[in-house]
């Protein structure tokens, strides 16, 4: 499928960059003429993945969070990447309500929310190597969605 557009961002793992990441993702995706609801879906999923990179991936250390976004006809692909501590057991991590940081009042619902608002969520991770969350969202007419 033809790639129509592409962007990459890289920013410090500061919590003040969470809203920056959301706005940037929304601004890029807006080229696809999404509905307001689709934009909010994308913002929410990106917010979850970026927050995870900051609080779980890098914990109290400073590092770079990267986002890659790719537009294909009717399809948005987003990757959120950190070079932090990684996830030992991905299956367990993705379970609803599982969190390794209850002391920070995390709810363990991050991955579930990503799955709710995106059409596909793929996680690859290596301990001490970092984590890559790849998310796909189909945007546009239902015929396009059916042809996916």
């Amino acid at each position: 499928m033809e790639k129509l557009n592409e962007m990459h961002i890289k920013f410090l793992s500061k919590s003040s960059n969470e809203s920056f990441a959301r706005v940037t993702a929304a601004a890029f995706a807006s080229q696809m003429d999404p509905t307001l609801e689709e934009i909010t879906d994308i913002k929410t999923a990106v917010s979850e993945a970026v927050t995870n990179a900051i609080i779980h991936g890098y914990e109290d250390k400073m590092g770079y969070v990267e986002i890659g976004a790719y537009i294909y006809p009717g399809k948005l692909v987003m990757e959120i990447i950190d070079r932090g501590k990684g996830i030992a057991d991905i299956e367990k991590a993705r379970q609803p309500l599982y969190t390794s940081k209850p002391e920070l009042e995390r709810s363990g619902m991050g991955f579930t929310v990503m799955e709710t608002f995106m059409d596909k969520v793929e996680v690859t991770s290596g301990v001490n190597q970092g984590t890559r969350v790849k998310m796909i969202k189909y945007i546009g007419s239902s015929t396009e969605k059916m042809g996916r």
């Binding site: 919590s15 003040s16 969470e18 809203s19 959301r22 609801e37 909010t40 879906d41 913002k43 929410t44 917010s47 979850e48 927050t51 900051i54 609080i55 609803p96 920070l104 009042e105 995390r106 709810s107 619902m109 991050g110 579930t112 929310v113 709710t116 608002f117």
Partner: protein, 114 residues
């Protein structure tokens, strides 16, 4: 993120305005917990009419406040939930412990304030 509140008998009505994420959650948490130092507060109603964004960090904030208030035998209610945030509440199962009221009046009545 702007937080404000008022007291109606033993109910603290908290209004949130802006975006609630991991970054802003801390301010909301500290604001409410400071108010909860007043032991005459038993119940909380969160008015999220002007909350323009929330991710799962908001769930953590609500569960945390619920834990405090339920120890006092109180309830945590929520009003003016938009469809997007409702979806997050649904998937997280939070409606098992927090009630979504139609409006402030209904919430207050249910908490014994008339």
């Amino acid at each position: 993120m702007q937080v404000s509140s008022r007291k109606r008998q033993d109910v603290l009505v908290v209004s949130l305005k802006g975006e609630l994420d991991h970054h802003t959650a801390d301010r909301v948490r500290r604001y409410i917990d400071h108010r909860l130092e007043n032991p005459t507060i038993k119940n909380i109603v969160m008015d999220i009419k002007n909350l323009t964004f929330m991710d799962s960090s908001g769930i953590g904030v609500l569960i945390g406040r619920y834990k405090i208030i339920s120890k006092r035998g109180g309830k945590l209610g929520i009003i003016n939930v938009n469809s997007h945030i409702d979806r997050i509440f649904q998937v997280s199962g939070i409606y098992r412990i927090i009630k979504n009221y139609d409006d402030l009046q209904q919430a207050l009545n249910d908490m014994g304030v008339y």
